[in-house]
């Protein structure tokens, strides 16, 4: 035993160190994924007998209007959430200067990210509330008739995304602020000597150096957009008449909410959501792997 250990110590050690993490990953990530996929082939209310129905859940999903509403909203979320990148960068550059009290300003800008999403949702639903909400009153004053954003299927998703962008911009800003700290001053100096200014300076000198920060910002923004559950749940509960649902909320509604308990159908939605995330995740992993091997 000890002879074997001595001979293979260097080969075994990394696996031993990996073992606790790998075990956790297996129990809490890989096995549940497999289970979800398995459940998605059953008709099950969470308590009684589960019946094997093959791909019937997926067939139903393809025919379900609510699924397409959710999918469409998810795409809107993904696209509009990307606004957090340019806006966050702008604020970061604006704040990246040495004036008195800049730390206080920075922390104020970072503030929305510190408060819970639930509080953000509540604040924005009061902001939009008919009759007394500030936004409603502003629109009423400007156009004559107020708009109850959260009760109007045309605006509701955009209203929620605006609420979500507020903390997301703060998050991206902090990522860029740390990135800006690492921008090499000599390169900026050299570029300046060569006559680069303004947009050209930003595009050709600063942004390439911010590439790692941009990568992380894109990752967290994509994930933030796809898991946009809490704001939808707090602000509208998917309403009015289901028009602000996203896939994660739809999954919760079908599997776990008061009127749901269709575990199989919920699992099928989860699998679809997982497949969408997988596209992004594989993209990110592929990029990281490429960067590692290039070095």
């Amino acid at each position: 035993m000890s002879a074997y250990w001595k001979a293979n110590q260097r080969r075994l050690a990394p696996w031993l160190f990996l073992a606790p993490g790998a075990l956790m990953f297996l129990i809490y990530v890989l096995i549940p994924i497999a289970q979800s996929i398995w459940i998605s082939f059953y008709d099950w209310d969470g308590m009684g007998e589960a019946t094997w129905i093959g791909t019937a859940n997926y067939v139903e999903l393809v025919d379900d209007d609510a699924f397409y509403t959710s999918l469409k909203n998810n795409v809107i979320w993904l696209v509009l959430y990307m606004l957090a990148l340019p806006v966050g960068l702008m604020i970061a550059i604006f704040l990246n200067q040495n004036v008195r009290g800049i730390r206080a300003y920075k922390s104020l800008f970072f503030f929305p990210f510190v408060i819970s999403q639930v509080v953000v949702g509540l604040m924005f639903s009061w902001f939009y509330a008919p009759d007394f909400g500030l936004f409603y009153r502003l629109i009423e004053w400007a156009t004559g008739t107020g708009i109850a954003v959260l009760a109007d299927e045309r605006f509701v998703t955009y209203g929620i995304i605006a609420a979500g962008l507020w903390p997301q911009i703060a998050y991206v800003m902090i990522l860029y602020l740390t990135g800006l700290n690492n921008v090499a001053p000599d390169q900026v100096e050299a570029a300046r000597l060569d006559g680069a200014r303004g947009w050209r300076m930003l595009w050709y000198v600063i942004l390439p150096q911010l590439k790692p920060a941009t990568f992380i910002a894109v990752v967290v923004t994509v994930i933030g957009a796809l898991r946009s559950f809490d704001l939808v749940s707090i602000m509208t509960d998917g309403g009015p008449y289901g028009s602000s649902r996203v896939l994660s909320f739809f999954m919760y509604e079908q599997a776990l909410s008061e009127y749901g308990y269709r575990m199989g159908y919920g699992a099928a939605i989860a699998v679809v959501l997982f497949a969408i995330m997988m596209v992004f995740i594989s993209g990110f992993i592929w990029k990281m792997w490429r960067d590692e091997t290039e070095r």
Binding site: A148, V149, G239, P240
Partner: protein, 414 residues
């Protein structure tokens, strides 16, 4: 140090004493979802029960009202109590068919409940057996603001309410006075289901409404369209932004006189009165008749107590159910909460005009519906209520809504 020691001693002694007390008493575990006022009433009821049965110790675990709906599915299978709160009608069907609730027909039999609780018996019965005991219900109807009627120059509803045509005609006058004729807050969806239920019960009758919620009638049926045709008459006079507000926000509109009528359950009276309304300004009427000659059915959601299949102490649990069903216990509990007892031998406070009116309206009703989300299966209820909300915002989408509901119906009732 000395104090600490005596403290420990006292604590140990206390532990020993409770230990010996528990050895003599049989424990009855009860999981419930009461808000503060009903909780106090139930604690008083339990104290009465324990006084009558000194050998039983009822241990009440109270859950948050919304959280309970999820929790019950876990504790019924994992760590079952001896008693659990739930609701009548189709809401209890999943637990009955999956064998999670015990058949308590013998409790009904032994205590003559079939007669005393006659009005609620049908909604407690599945497969000819009773699966729990009802202890309270409340009426639905139209609550109105008398001041708003005066402000718009509309005659107050008489003793028997108003006729449907008159109600619709009044809406025109309210509109001219800048008052919402009908208010509701549909953010949580269920308030609009109350309006639909009444329109359906009044247009096509109780049996038809039950067939509809049981999935026997297609949603594209002409009679469904008749119901929505009646609804279309008051749709333009309904609070415009109802989809963005909760039912309490709509109650505020009624209190402030910005709205005249509110189709609601009697539990809202507390909110109206907290807002400053009195028996003088707040009125109640039964929902008007629409199709002449149809027997009058009412909405009366019923709250119930059940024995889970995994109960340890079934014997005492049945004793408790019999106690809860008794007229004395129901009179006391409902007087404290301001709701209606299901036992017909109970009494209600004669000084509360809303309780008296509700008791009158329910006891003379032809039949009682539970409420759309308790009569229809969960999935149908959700789709239906979303459809009602959409209709109230965009009545022109009616055909698409009914198509969608019909698709859901064919999926749900296989």
């Amino acid at each position: 140090m000395v104090h600490a020691k005596t403290g420990v001693l006292a604590f140990t002694a206390a532990l020993l004493m409770t230990g010996s007390a528990m050895a003599e008493q049989r424990v009855l575990k009860y999981n419930a979802d009461y808000d503060p006022i009903p909780l106090a009433a139930m604690e008083a009821l339990i104290a009465d029960f324990e006084a009558a049965n000194p050998d039983i110790d009822v241990q009440l675990t109270n859950f948050d009202h919304e959280g309970y709906k999820t929790a019950i599915r876990n504790f019924l299978t994992a760590d079952s109590p001896d008693l659990a709160n739930w609701y009548a009608g189709n809401r209890m069907a999943p637990f009955v068919t999956s064998g999670q609730f015990l058949d308590v027909s013998d409790v009904w039999e032994a205590n003559g409940l079939g007669e005393a609780l006659a009005s609620a018996k049908a909604s407690m019965t599945i497969d000819g057996k009773q699966w729990g005991v009802p202890y309270t219900y409340y009426q639905w109807g139209i609550y109105y603001n008398r001041d708003a009627y005066k402000a718009a120059g509309v005659d107050l509803p008489g003793e028997n309410g108003v006729s449907w045509d008159q109600f619709v005609a009044n809406c025109e006058k309210f509109k001219a006075a800048g008052i919402d004729c009908v208010t509701t807050g549909s953010k949580a969806l269920w308030p609009v289901a109350g309006i639909f239920d009444y329109l359906s019960l009044r247009t096509n009758g109780y049996e038809w409404h039950m067939d509809l919620t049981a999935g026997k009638v297609p949603w594209t049926d002409q009679k469904v369209k008749d119901v929505f045709a009646q609804w279309a008459k008051i749709q333009p006079y309904t609070t415009a932004n109802h989809a963005a507000i909760d039912w309490q926000d709509a109650a505020a509109l009624l209190v402030q006189g910005k709205a005249a009528n509110y189709v609601m359950g009697n539990f809202a009276v507390g909110v109206f009165k907290e807002g400053g309304m009195t028996n003088e300004t707040l009125g109640f009427m039964v929902f008007p008749e629409i199709t002449p000659g149809i027997p009058r059915a009412e909405e009366a959601p019923t709250d119930t107590i059940h024995i889970p299949a995994g109960a340890q102490n079934v014997e005492d649990a049945k004793k408790f159910l019999a106690f809860v069903a008794s007229p004395e216990a129901q009179t006391k509990w409902n007087a404290a909460v301001g709701q209606l007892p299901t036992n017909k031998n109970s009494t209600v406070d004669p000084n509360d005009p809303f309780l008296v009116a509700g008791f009158e309206s329910l006891s003379t009703a032809y039949a009682l519906a539970q409420f759309f989300d308790r009569d229809a299966p969960a999935e149908m209820a959700k789709a239906g209520m979303e459809g009602f909300q959409e209709f109230l915002v965009k009545p022109e989408n009616l055909d698409a809504i009914l198509e969608r509901l019909e698709k859901t119906r064919q999926k749900v009732y296989k």
